[in-house]
Amino acid sequence: MSLFKLPSLQKIDIFACAQCGYCVKKCPVYNVVNWESYSPRGRLYLLKQLQEENKSFIGKLVSKDKLDIKEVVQRIYDCAICGRCEVACHLELNLPTLWAKAREAFFSMGVAPQLLTQVETTILSRKNVFGMDAESRGDWVIYTGVDAPVKKDAEIAYFVGCVTSYSGRVQSVAQAIASILNHVGANWTLLDGEWCCGHPLYVSGAVSKYRELAEHNVKAIKSTGAKIVVTGCPGCRLALAEEYPAILGYKPDFEVLHFTQLLDRWIAEGKIRVEKSEDPVTYHDPCELARLGGVIEQPRRVISALTSKFIEPLERGRDGMCCGSGGMLKATNPTLSATIAEMRLNSLLNTGVNTVLSACPTCDQSLAEAAVKAQNVRVVDLTQLLAERLGLM
């Protein structure tokens, strides 16, 4: 087996970690598992030990106390990469990147969870994360009956994403986005041949073939002529806006927006008018949209246009609590992921409100699954609620 190797910046970070523990109780995984090795501080310590064990000849000779790499790998993958540790970090270390780079190292060593190597194969062969037929990616248009054009010379391209395209529970988000785009009379299009954005590969550590996906999707977007790409999926937004420039070595010539950012603009410009209700709602910040993507105020302004009774949860914005489904955790450890989702739902319901909004198809799904046991709780995407209020759904 090859040695565990991190890029130099991340290597410095694992030594720089002060082990102060400010991150520990912020971590959703630690709060469920309750053992330090599953906390960011514990993981960093294990990575440091692994690095040290590899380092010196003498160290190898005297050390009888070597780590079992499988135990370390499990702890690195039992993480939603939600980034809440970074907000708490005493030293402001870039921890989400460190987790991703550690996974990359493990993936290249061949010790990553077997499931994720299968996910890589699936994505590369089927062009979607579920292993579904690539040709049926646009079937949601037929199911929902919405008018969704595929054309050239559009101003806006809608990047739907795997989860929204294939997952029945949240295809309504795609329907809502398409309906609103039509409602404002936007010149928009779906992509002709959208592939998985590649974000699942990035968070799995399986980055060697990521470039293929990025190049294909950029080409597909450019062929529409659109200068704005919108998506309802925060993971896709991160991929298109931040991971593609890094992986391609250049910034593609289009603006990438989460749909709530566009809604915020249109509401401010008066293109969307909706009567404000008094229905109480609360809002779950998707980690990849708020903390990792910096989109915090825009969804709030959209919600404030919808209702006068917006009750914020205690954990919100940059300090929002994770739903447990990021970082492929829902695939690699569904039980842990579901427990975190229940914790998050409970914290949202502590507001006393029964309508929980979010702006991410994966968060929508996880929280809705957690809400099955709860009575009279509705989890709905912000975009869908707006479409309903506009009479479009």
Binding site: C20, W35, E52, S56, V62
Partner: protein, 480 residues
């Protein structure tokens, strides 16, 4: 039935582990240890146990006595002297699971909390109430109430409200035998005063009843930059004379300056700037008066008083003194409690040490009373260079020796500073040994620490040898 199985019946399967990765994570605290330490101490525990009730703690201690197994209590492990690090393996007791608020009397301001409650959660809890914490540690976002009780109890607010122990009415502790007792200022066999700062060698704090401070009419932080450290020092002394701050902190920058070729003969040779910040609380008139006095003092000594917004920013950053660590990436420090009059000389000495060893240094001083200051210089080192780093670790001894010369002492002892207890506090050492023999005849609770450094082989390391070793390391480091 094995020890593990016996413990398992007490705490349940979810709260005990012997997984290697887990045990490794619980083998250290804030300070990175050179791997050679494993030759002397077995810092990796055999089992990690997470009790959820005080009765479980009691039962675990009884089993430890039965089999004569060492027990190391651990809060959030935010200390750097080895207090929560095992010396002979055994059971590591993770006390963070005891984290309930047991009682809060909003009329009297008394709050009873379990030992694993994190200070920040108390701050959050009191946010909307009429009460505030009188004192809290600089590591409040993660450190626990029980951990601070065991390890020092001086920090923000001490200048006005005294030590943590002065703000505690009573506590429930587990004695090494497993007996659970309530202690206060007059209790036997242990008083609050004896239990506090006993670093887990005499008892385990289970819960504490804190006397909160009422929120006062006005609360306002203050901040001034000083081009010269000397001015900040003089201003700090004058602030102590003329005002009554809740907290007063002096932080001196100038790190990277210690490498200059010029010798450092006076503080100004370090060309360090400094900031003075803190908090006033009291009646509106008092706070306004003190703020005006602070402005006048700062101006007199060449300070640049910053606006309220910036002062609040600095105040809100008070729990993040280790930000500079990323430039190390390792920090070496030793907190010493020294007379205020010695601060000038200690700063000068720190600069000299930094210069000699090639380590950059940032200085922080929290005034804990008009007479005393908790001083902790942060020296930047690099543990990735093992030989150099090993020689750098001798700096803690140098600092403590110098503090003792000035009538000060180490803030804590743990494993690494235990050699200094005799010189710093000879009477306290005698009392600790007497109580230890009386309360822990099997020597199972946090053994080999605080008043001795006893290796995994059962031998106490001689202070003179240790002293010689560190002095040699220091000289060796200067040659490197």
């Amino acid at each position: 039935m094995s020890v593990k199985q016996e413990l398992l019946t007490i705490v349940g399967e979810q709260n005990i582990t012997d997984l290697h990765a887990e045990r490794k994570v619980y083998s250290h605290d804030l300070a990175p240890l050179p791997s050679e330490v494993s030759w002397l101490f077995k810092s990796t525990p055999d089992l990690v146990v997470k009790p959820r009730t005080k009765e479980q703690v009691s039962e675990i201690l009884k089993i430890a006595n039965k089999y004569k197994i060492p027990v190391t209590p651990r809060g959030a492990a935010t200390w750097g002297y080895g207090g929560a690090v095992p010396t002979k393996g055994g059971i590591l007791l993770d006390l963070t699971g005891l984290d309930r608020i047991l009682e809060f009397d909003r009329k009297s301001g008394l709050i009873k909390v379990e030992c694993g409650v994190v200070w920040q959660s108390l701050i959050n809890l009191l946010d909307g109430s009429e009460w505030r914490l009188p004192v809290c540690p600089s590591s409040s976002p993660s450190s626990t109430v029980g951990g601070w009780a065991a390890t020092g109890g001086l920090g923000y607010g001490s200048l006005k409200y005294g030590r943590f122990v002065d703000n505690v009415v009573q506590a429930t502790v587990a004695l090494p035998s497993g007996e659970i007792v309530t202690i206060d200022k007059m209790s036997t066999p242990l008083t609050l005063e004896q239990a506090f700062s006993s670093e887990g060698v005499l008892c385990i704090f289970l819960d504490l009843t804190l006397r909160l401070a009422p929120k006062l009419e006005a609360e306002e932080p203050f901040l001034a930059y000083f081009y010269q450290l000397q001015g900040a020092l003089k201003a700090a002394n004058r602030v102590l004379e003329l005002t009554k701050p809740d907290t007063l902190v002096l932080r001196a920058f100038g790190f990277l300056k210690a490498r200059r070729d010029k010798p450092i003969k006076s503080i100004e040779d370090a060309e360090s700037g400094a900031i003075l910040f803190g908090l006033f609380n009291g009646s509106k008139a008092e706070v306004e008066g003190w703020l005006k006095a602070f402005r006048d003092i700062a101006l007199e000594f060449g300070g640049n008083v910053r606006p309220s917004g910036e002062a609040w920013d600095e105040w809100n950053e008070r729990f993040y003194p280790l930000r500079i660590k990323k430039w190390g990436p390792t920090v070496l420090t030793s907190d010493v409690l020294i007379p205020v009059r010695a601060l000038h000389d200690m700063i000068l000495y720190s600069w000299k040490l930094g210069k000699e060893s090639g380590m950059d240094v940032e200085l922080e001083a929290i005034f804990t009373s008009p007479e005393h200051v908790l001083y902790f210089p942060l020296f930047l080192s690099d543990e990735r260079k093992p030989l150099k780093y090993l020689s750098h670790t001798a700096i803690t001894k140098k600092l403590i020796d110098e503090a003792v010369k000035h009538g000060g002492r180490s803030y804590g002892y743990g494993i690494w500073n235990s050699f200094h207890l005799k010189k710093s506090e000879p009477e306290r050492k005698k009392e600790l040994i007497r109580l230890k023999k009386q309360l822990d005849p099997n020597n199972i609770l946090n053994p080999g620490k605080t008043f001795e450094a006893r290796s995994k082989f059962g031998l106490a390391l001689p202070a003179s040898l240790y002293s010689l070793f560190l002095d040699t390391l220091w000289v060796f480091g200067k040659v490197l």
